[in-house]
Symmetry: C2
Subunit: 525 residues, 2 copies
């Protein structure tokens, strides 16, 4: 952090990103993302908000124990019990950061905290000092900074620095900032608040300005950018990691040597992994990682008119890992070749996890002759989990339907050795298959956010289904992969139901997992 | 345009947006979008690039003849024949603008135009004067302005003003600009170039900065923003219309009364229409129009903690038209109620077009009890076309498949009274259905960009399939809607094939429609 030209990339995909409606990653998925973030070269991973739920706590602990390279950070409110819990979650990491926040805007203090400004100051001092008793790396955020009274916010920031905070983050919590204004605010903080600290940006994209605000912040002296892969996060999301990184690098002339430690050739793959595990598609025209961000890379011949690439190209697609899919395995590939290929791609699977993925690979390879690296990524994403055997396994799904036949589906499930079979009708075959699964498992609920993407683009590609199942006030995501869209949908639906059953059976509350109206709805520095 | 506080919204969805890979709108679709843009209140519609193809020419002419309200603009290179063609396309409009462009950066002049700087000056002068002989409203763009030598660019701009240009657009063609830098460039143009003209921004989003650059441009004196719905456009697209509009309005305090004439409550619907007709999904966390842009609006209970809306909300979802879907029609609704509902939604269908949509409505209503306004929007989008009867009609599709049955589909088509039937197998039922259609029609090719969205979110919602079919070097989009995903896919596939057949039969060249490597690949101010 001593390097004046180094901009620290603080990734909050697993914290702010995971707070997006409908995203609910389990521990295995969070670990997979954290490992990829380490490969990408982020400096700090905000792994979660440990006090929010038992699941959050355990996921942060697993990342702290397992992921090497980046600093592992946990978010915490000011209560000492919260900070203790945060520390317990990150303690096993090589390098640990506690990120303490409290709101400083009038509307938040009054309506949310129900505290006086004096109380907020006391809380901030006490919390930072307590966090500092655990670790030398303490970040402090005055929530809703861009709408806070400037003088009061600086008082609180000074208190935090005096109590030991080493990073001051100035969040534009509601995405209200404009570059000129946000940068000016940061410049004035630097002038007013004394001490040895680093300034950080955290910008939301409600007005489409998160990236611009973050970069303006860096020009004003910030040396850390909080951001998320694919710009995920509350509402319209946070600054997109891939965009801030590539803007700094592509315009090195303007930013005068400021740079990050990101290995940009991992950007496209990180984006795909996060998109798949969160079920949030990336739009085609998304900067840097969208499939059309480099139009020259489309499958259509360019007729030689774009020979001089620099005419329209300011970044090299290969520099962000946007290459063509490569065929890597076929139906005759054995277990050894399979494991070796995965390893080369950075997935280090063993034991049951490897067996599970290999079994699914053979099933798919039997039906689709060649599998590309993108197919394998999707396959691993489908099977990534916490290696718990789920309550229900899909034995088979058979369906029929058409424009003049009522769509009908029959599913056979295996529930711990017992065969469950059910047949149902629906408006379409997907609905029929989902109804049959509901009938077989006896679980009722409502399905939302159903999307299908084709892994490599064509109709002969694998279908990757992401959906969300709401039952009794809580919601669970599900994902499924198959050469057939109805089967992929049935798999995704059963996956969601299995997650619900698991949460119920392990005594957890389903609403630990997704309850935007409770604790998680309140925290978003 | 005399109002100093008025920022003109110049929409280029139908020109730069339509140049995105895989987007190819037909005349009926372009008209539908243009009509919605008029309802939205944009000031200028850049309706296309008339010389690019016969299809482009006719679409621009139809919009000029049919759409009232906005200025209708056509893009043109500097050749007089191009300008004549442009004028012929827009002549029928109430108010007409010709937009002339020529590149001024060294790399573009050398590698693309193969012209000397002197030649470029001569071209600019002659083209603007010729355009001005047709209309008083002439816009001039020095392509790749942000990488052009400043002094030379200003010389060319001065020549354009002296020849009669009334708007000077400063395009950041490659998305290379940074707000501070881009704004400074505009400020200096204002200082250097004499005359009575208005400055316009045109920013690409390759580094995620298009919106910020446009707004910085306005602060520097620009009074026109070129932008596109959903940020569509070449590569990572243009500045998103909805974001620039809402940033100016939400931060009226900062922008000191600068405003547009946009009716913001039409933003969400415009976004949905454009997404559907182009087949480009909008990501969930997209600012303003993404489904999660207002997290509070999600279907999940908020448990009362967000009572004070301003705590986290800077825009009212209703202000951008992001409300809940309303159930508007059921299976017992008659033709009159149907037409009246469409009319209330702004769709004024008559004759064959109304009959066609009504027939499809009854088919769907028989299978799905209630249809929402979003369903109707999708239905109209599916049927919008140029009211030509296509070569093939889908009579029926029947399929079966499953985890242990080879997916099989049988389709029956009607080709001008003759029944064509074919049965095929595939890796999945969708592929089987598409193969059967290929067999029945004898048309071979390759399918790409297959996506499914559910119109209202759930699995019981209508499935809306968008895909693209490539054959002999050209590509055509197709769309289909059904309660069943396989049927929707078959409809979309047949739709693409019908378009290909139509282009062939009308003597047009398929590559008029989508040829990014030819003329269209070259023009992107």
């Amino acid at each position: 952090m001593a390097d004046a030209d180094k901009v620290i990339i603080f990734d909050t995909t697993l914290r702010d990103g995971e707070q997006s409606p409908g995203i609910s990653l389990d521990q295995g998925e969070k670990l997979e993302i954290a490992e990829q973030l380490a490969r990408l070269g982020v400096d700090v991973i905000e792994a979660g908000f440990p006090v929010a739920s038992q699941g959050d706590f355990e996921a942060v602990r697993a990342i702290a124990a397992g992921v090497r390279g980046p600093v592992i950070c946990g978010l915490s409110r000011t209560a000492h019990a919260d900070i203790d819990r945060c520390w317990a979650a990150i303690e096993a990491a090589e390098r640990r950061r506690i990120h303490v926040f409290i709101a400083t805007s009038e509307t938040h203090m009054k309506h949310k905290l129900k505290m006086t400004p004096e109380q907020v100051k006391v809380e901030a001092a006490s919390a930072v000092a307590h966090a500092r008793s655990y670790t030398d790396d303490v970040e402090f955020s005055p929530e809703d900074a861009s709408r806070s009274d400037f003088a009061f916010m600086c008082e609180v920031l000074q208190i935090a620095v005096d109590a030991g905070a080493t990073t001051l983050n100035i969040p534009d919590t509601v995405g209200f900032g404009i570059p000129e204004e946000y940068a000016e605010r940061l410049r004035r903080v630097r002038e007013v608040v004394r001490g040895d600290y680093l300034i950080s940006t955290h910008c939301h994209n409600d007005l489409g300005l998160a990236v611009a605000n973050s970069l303006a912040g860096v020009r004003a002296g910030a040396r850390q950018i909080e951001c998320a892969v694919n710009g995920l996060g509350e509402r319209a999301g946070n600054a997109a990691l891939e965009e801030v990184v590539m803007a700094l690098r592509t315009r090195a002339d303007f930013y005068e040597g400021l740079d990050t430690a990101i290995r940009s050739e991992e950007l496209a793959r990180t984006s795909r992994l996060v998109s798949r595990l969160t079920g949030y598609p990336v739009q085609y025209n998304k900067a840097v990682v969208g499939r059309n961000a480099f139009a020259h890379e489309s499958g259509i011949h360019q007729h030689g008119v774009l020979n001089e690439r620099t005419t329209y190209e300011i970044m090299d697609p290969a520099a962000v890992g946007q290459g063509e899919s490569q065929i890597v395995l076929g139906k005759h590939s054995g277990r050894h070749a399979f494991a070796a290929t995965l390893k080369k791609m950075g997935y280090d699977l063993h034991g049951d996890a490897l067996n599970q993925v290999f079994t699914r690979f053979k099933e798919l390879a039997d039906r689709k002759v060649q599998l590309t690296d993108a197919d394998l990524e999707a396959l691993v994403a489908e099977e990534v989990g916490d290696s718990i055997r789920y309550a229900y396994q899909l034995v088979s799904v058979e369906c029929r339907g058409g424009s003049s036949t009522t769509p009908t589906a029959t599913v056979v499930l295996d529930a711990d050795g017992e065969k469950l079979e059910a047949t149902a009708e629906g408006d379409g075959m997907v609905e029929a298959a989902c109804r049959a699964i509901k009938d077989a498992t006896g679980i009722e609920g409502h399905l939302t956010d159903y999307t299908v993407t084709s892994v490599t683009g064509g109709v002969d590609a694998l279908a990757d289904v992401a959906l969300r199942f709401e039952t009794e006030g809580s919601a669970m995501p599900g994902r499924g992969l198959s050469t057939d869209v109805v089967e992929a949908s049935a798999r995704a639906f059963l996956n969601a139901i299995n997650r619900i059953v698991r949460v119920r059976d392990t005594g957890g509350h389903a609403d630990d997992v997704d309850r935007p109206g409770s604790l998680r709805g309140l925290i978003r520095p």
